[in-house]
């Protein structure tokens, strides 16, 4: 069984102080650390597990700059067999459909049974790329996948709905799925593991080679004509407890008691 996984490198933001660039078009990326998008990490793990269970070949693809080789190397270290990097030149300011077109250019020529992406990326959170890609390929698909069971020429897929509910659907293969976190426990990748795959050659391609014209991708092809980022004012509602650690804890203890905690 052959599996294709699309992955993305994203900035780690939950612990970072974010600032917006002067034009207001993006965050300042200089001091940020980058990592594989959380959802994609689960997708790579799922692909490798399917390969381990059923045999086959796993190809990972990313669209980005040279530094994004890191997420491909990490995926190879997890057990992927092959990696393809689509140069982001020309794709800057693309919307989700523009990115999906780039991925489509590569994926359409691959032979596979299952195409996986994450549900969304933590940076833009559009939640669109995987499903637009499925539509461009004319594939059956399911989003928010938390379980995959392989059958004969088909897969039984568990989709996560609201309020602790799941939905079981059947898809004929080949099919596309967007993977939700928690579907598995991704394996840990050591530095040694990454060293071991350093000799695997990463295939490279770009918009020209994929015959994508300027009006299909990048700013021109995007349905978003302007984007302005602002840091929302938050904390307005919360009363912040300040002082020494002891002061803060005294205040917090008082609040907990007043509102009904054990004395």
């Amino acid at each position: 069984m052959n599996i294709v996984v699309c992955v993305k490198q994203v900035p780690e933001v939950s612990d970072a102080d974010l600032e917006i660039n002067r034009k207001g078009s993006d965050i300042d990326r200089e001091d940020l650390e980058f990592e594989i998008n959380e959802w994609d990490n689960y997708a790579v793990e799922e692909a490798v597990r399917l390969k381990e269970a059923h045999g086959g070949h796993v190809t990972v693809i990313t669209l980005g700059d040279e530094d994004c080789e890191d997420v491909l190397r990490q995926s190879l270290a997890m057990g992927a067999d092959e990696a393809i990097l689509i140069d982001e030149d020309g794709f800057e300011m693309s919307d989700a459909a523009g990115i999906a077109k780039g991925l489509h250019g590569v994926v359409k020529d691959l032979s596979f049974d299952i195409l996986l992406t994450g549900v969304q990326s933590s940076d833009n959170s559009w939640g669109q790329v995987g499903l637009i890609l499925a539509e461009l390929l004319g594939l059956p698909y399911a989003s928010l996948v938390v379980g995959i069971e392989m059958g004969d020429g088909k897969a039984t897929v568990f989709r996560e709905l609201e309020s602790d509910t799941q939905e079981k659907v059947e898809l004929p293969l080949p099919a596309a799925m967007t993977v939700q976190t928690g579907i598995n426990t991704p394996r840990y990748v050591s530095i040694l593991g990454i060293k071991k795959v350093r000799k695997i050659k990463i295939k490279e391609t770009d918009a020209d080679e994929l015959n994508l014209s300027e009006d299909e991708i990048g700013a021109e092809g995007s349905c978003v004509t302007s984007r302005k980022l602002v840091i929302p004012s938050i904390g307005g509602a919360a009363e912040m407890l300040t002082g020494s650690l002891d002061d803060i804890c005294n205040k917090a203890a008082q609040i907990i008691q007043d509102k009904g905690g054990l004395v």
Binding site: V119, S125, S143, E162, S163, C223, I248, A252, I255, K259
Partner: protein
């Protein structure tokens, strides 16, 4: 006729809250722009739902077919592609929910309508559509404008608009004929599954101490359990903690977990993503501890502590032990 479409969402015979939230937004946009609001209802035997939609819409379009009884991308796409292409609504509102997230991106490809997903606010003025959404883990807002188009498509984040309820309208219902099903991809809905194994019911707890990824490692959880015991609370968590199996899935608060409304909710190392907030923002008192003063959790908390939970919790626990 220029108007606004709201794709009604329902499951197992129940209309979903997001439908009335979208009707609220749809009606205010319609008022500003002198348009009408049409609810589009795909399903099987949806009489009860139709009645509710009539009170908050100017028109209800109903398609009734066994294939539409449960959400299935194949049939929903085929039905909506036809309806949207024929009627050319100005704006199509879809919920940013498990169904809407599944439906909207392919539907935008098929109809050619520019799509903005997970929007918290939408402004329609003349030819332009502007939307507000969150990026980078909810720490940044993005103000977008979409390319001019006859039809726009937006998925609306749950919980951003009040329930439209009964607006005193009495829309007429038009039945749309079921089309020849084309472009199907063989996806079949089989069944719904609800989780059975319950260790504790966090929704029944008066006080919840909730742990997020900021806890760092599972070895730190006993410290939080000790604190919870000291104040008579139950331990719950955010999604990553359940995903990593540091705590059981039944403890997860949020859209895909449980909705809770305790007297006190103490969020430790939880950033406050909207999917988490959706499950806890109605708690009577929310106290948040987070190292990041810009964490979105502070926008719903009543009391905030900017600090390391690993330092705060042991000291706070002592206050109760000594009391």
């Amino acid at each position: 006729m220029e108007n606004i479409f709201v794709i009604a969402e329902h499951r197992q015979g129940e209309i979903r809250d997001i439908t009335f939230e979208m009707l609220n937004l749809g009606n205010s946009l319609a008022k500003e722009n002198d348009m009408t609001v049409t609810s589009v209802l795909l399903g099987k035997d949806t009489g009860d739902i139709q009645e509710k939609l009539q009170k908050a819409s100017d028109r209800v379009l109903v398609m009734d077919a066994p294939e539409l009884a449960d959400y299935n991308a194949d049939y929903y796409l085929a039905a909506l592609e036809g309806i949207i292409k024929e009627k050319t609504p100005r704006l199509v509102l879809i919920g940013h929910t498990s169904a809407g997230m599944d439906l909207a991106p392919p539907l935008s490809v098929r109809t050619g309508a520019p799509l903005a997903t997970d929007c918290m606010d939408v402004r329609l003025t003349g030819d332009t559509l502007e939307a507000t959404r969150q990026v980078f883990g909810g720490k940044i807002n993005a103000e977008l404008s979409l390319k001019p188009s006859a039809t726009y498509m937006v998925t609306v984040r749950p919980g951003c608009f009040p329930d439209a309820g009964d607006l005193g309208k009495s829309a007429e219902t038009d039945t749309i004929p079921v089309p020849e099903w084309t472009n199907l991809r063989g996806r079949h809905f089989l069944e719904y599954l609800t989780s059975e194994t319950e260790d504790v019911d966090i929704a029944a707890a008066d006080i919840l101490v909730s742990v997020g990824r900021g806890i760092g490692k599972p070895e730190n959880i006993p410290m939080v359990e000790e604190f919870a015991t000291a104040i008579g609370a139950t331990v719950s968590c955010s999604r990553p903690v359940a995903d990593k199996e540091w705590l059981p899935k039944s403890r997860q608060v949020g859209v895909s977990g449980k909705t809770v409304k305790p007297k006190i909710y103490i969020a430790l190392g939880i950033s406050g993503a909207f999917q988490h907030q959706a499950g806890m923002k109605n708690a009577d008192t929310i106290i948040a501890v987070n190292t990041d003063a810009a964490a979105p959790i502070f926008s719903v908390a009543h009391y905030g502590i900017v600090g390391d939970l690993l330092q705060v919790i042991p000291v706070l626990t002592e206050k109760f032990k000594n009391a």
